[in-house]
Symmetry: C2
Subunit: 440 residues, 2 copies
């Protein structure tokens, strides 16, 4: 529930990073699965166990371009004493009713084409004269340019055992087997398998639609002219890009002035296309921090269960945070602080896991590692706050970039890691081991 005006005592305590994250991740539920076109399902989580409806390959087929023959007809064949067989014609890939191969006969066969009835094995074209009568060949001439070889006689120079160069029906997967289990994340190889077994659609969780808006009467669109006291809106761009990077479809609404009614109506307008809303700014203790005020009653005021709670977190940057749900459908909303670095760090810690939870992914967090701190002077951190400093990581070593100021956006653009200084640590010497969140 919101706390417009004075902070209520209940929300005035400091929340730990874990407490806030747990609140977010236990409130947010994976999106309901829908039927997705195969290529729209890329990066999404499958929610059905997909069974194989037909064996792969669906029929015995040749793994080579060559001639389909009977084993006895080529037994003992050599360059000196080739087997000479009558060529019935071609079996191309996709051929519906292949030829019947009898004794002394051969069918010219292409890779992937069904093994014709009567044939027991395949001799590659390189083991034959290609029907040209001029000794071993290296390949077949294109049929449109050189029709010869598909009729007449072929000389085979080597024997072949039964089912040589034949891919057996079902040798990849058999009908009834489990192709992919529910929970699989669909990358290109999984999409390949689904297509191969004939699935043009699958049931999966869609990408979440994330609406991003920044608040602040001082914000101007990049490319426009700045007047006195104004700055460019960077948060709505950074958060939109970060949401896409996390897997979402992101809509950048841009900057909204510090007016509670405008903000409220903007949010209400956007609810229809949001699975998650993210705001930046207006969450601190200022008289114009209208996000708190606006979010106390968005949508239907009689609807129970909604509301956004504002709280202080034991972290730096990112102390003021809001989280809750808005509108009759209880769309989750994360209200991030407005300083660019605070907003970005808050995204990484709370919004990214929220987006990936909506997607139904198991792995919602950035990877972390331990690294040796390489710093010119000890890092200092306020007691009781978990600090997230920007750094560059390479080969087990992390180096801070820029200071701790939450307005230092230039340094953020050089960083590829966050250095974590725990709540009970006030100073970290160079050479010490620290926890690092890898942003790359």
């Amino acid at each position: 529930m919101s706390s417009a005006g004075h902070d209520s005592p209940a929300t005035d305590r400091l929340w730990s990073v874990e407490e806030h994250l747990e609140d977010v991740l236990t409130t947010i539920r994976p999106l309901e699965p829908i039927e997705l076109q195969l290529l729209d399902a890329q990066g999404c989580v499958l929610v059905e166990d997909v069974m194989v409806p037909l064996s792969l390959p669906p029929f015995d087929n040749s793994s080579m371009d060559g001639y389909a023959v009977r084993v006895a007809d080529v037994a003992g064949a050599s360059e000196e004493f080739p087997a000479v067989l009558d060529v019935l014609g071609d079996v191309a890939a996709g051929a519906a009713d292949p030829l019947q191969v009898g004794p002394g006969q051969a069918a010219r066969i292409m890779t992937g084409a069904p093994l014709p009835p009567g044939a027991e094995t395949v001799v590659p074209v390189e083991w034959t004269d290609g029907g040209l009568g001029e000794g071993p060949v290296r390949g077949m001439p294109a049929r449109s340019l050189a029709p010869q070889g598909a009729t007449g006689q072929v000389r085979v120079y080597r024997p072949a055992p039964a089912r040589a160069h034949v891919r057996d029906k079902g040798s990849d997967v058999r009908a009834g087997a489990l192709a992919l289990k529910a929970g699989t994340v669909l990358g290109p190889p999984q999409i390949a398998l689904l297509a191969a077994i004939g699935r043009g659609r699958v049931t999966g969780r869609p990408r979440p639609r994330v609406v991003v808006l920044s608040t602040g009467s001082e914000l101007v669109q990049p490319g426009e002219q700045l007047e006195g006291g104004q700055i460019y809106d960077s948060n709505s761009f950074a958060l939109t890009a970060a949401a896409r990077d996390a897997g979402a479809i992101a809509y950048r609404v841009g900057a909204v002035a510090d007016d509670a009614d405008t903000l409220r109506s903007t949010i209400e307008d956007q609810l229809v296309r949001a699975d998650l809303m993210v705001t930046s700014g207006g969450v601190s203790v200022g008289a114009y921090d209208v996000v708190k005020e606006a979010l106390s009653h968005v949508g239907d005021e009689d609807e129970p269960g909604g509301g956004v709670e504002f709280r202080k977190l034991a972290m730096q940057p990112g102390k003021p945070q809001g989280f809750g749900t808005v509108g009759p459908d209880h769309i989750p909303l994360l209200a991030l602080p407005g300083n660019p670095v605070s907003s970005y760090v808050s995204f990484e810690l709370f919004v990214r896991p929220a987006i990936r939870t909506l997607m139904g992914l198991q792995d919602v967090h950035r990877p972390t590692t331990r690294a040796r701190l390489a710093a010119d002077e000890p890092l200092t951190s306020p007691k009781g706050r978990r600090q997230f400093l920007r750094g560059t990581y390479a080969d087990g070593e992390v180096r801070p970039v820029g200071g701790s100021g939450s307005h230092l956006i230039a340094a953020l653009a050089q960083a590829d890691a966050l250095i974590v200084v725990p709540e009970d640590t006030e100073s970290v010497a160079s050479g010490a081991e620290v926890e690092v969140i890898l942003l790359g």
Copy 2:
């Protein structure tokens, strides 16, 4: 140049993986840079050194919600003996012409608002009575709900040194400094910085448009009914997904029948939206391998410099490969083999680096590592061929999945790594160290 019909002696030698890759990567040039809207530039490479046009912050501003005052007026202030100052009004973020603060005066100021002329420092609201006359407060009431505090008098309970809670103009970056250098890949933090310095557009290399088509008269669209001898088209789906994954905008044309004229006209039609074309199938030695034939003269036959060369590579899977350029604009084309595993492995080895080269990225290859082989039996590999087996990698250990057959698509969907067996190695025992390409 193409080699329809018999392979010419020049192209009949075996190419190494490196030779083919080098041919691809020295032929393909990064796309010409264009002006990109900021959010369209996500993941793209910047080609300009971006300088900072204005200092950040552009003006001295408050890092807290509080009161802007003169240092002398709050020197010696305490809870017992507060400084009592006349409040002139509010300085909100975005305020165009702030108040002038004289001796004995204070202006209520919000985070990010410009430090008003005459003021020397900022006392946070928590160090004051918020103008309410009832002792220390925890924050400001929202202005719309409680206008008090912006006028009348404020009691300040603690002194503040000069420029406390003030972010100096230029303390983030100064006008004229280098914001981002040419070659930077634009992720969310870099987009944040560009927006913050007012850049709504940047000059960068666009995402390449990749047209994907598969060839084969046996191919049927997933979701349709299979007839005898037919299989589902999986390559065009897998390659489209993989191209997107590599950073491209991919267009899936789907399956084209084994007819040289149809294929040629399809390719000519698609050239207009292609920075790169990728085909699968029809590159081997069969009589219906029409890709070779079709690609010998696509577009203007009088135009010099084009043509696709077909060659055999010393690798398994993926022995037959084609590469060259097509059409009057010399659009690069990679012709991959048609077996699903061959096609996917070829994409990873050759097409992905090609796409990333078009993007102007430095880092075009998948990461590789060394791992201990954990296998039930030794891996065998044909002499003189570099083999790429599918495997799963975890914690320094790689385990093969499925066999070496290039039709084993079900096993591919379980793999997250390729195990590399060098040309001169015919057997690898479990426990041996192998090179691994990480697909994740």
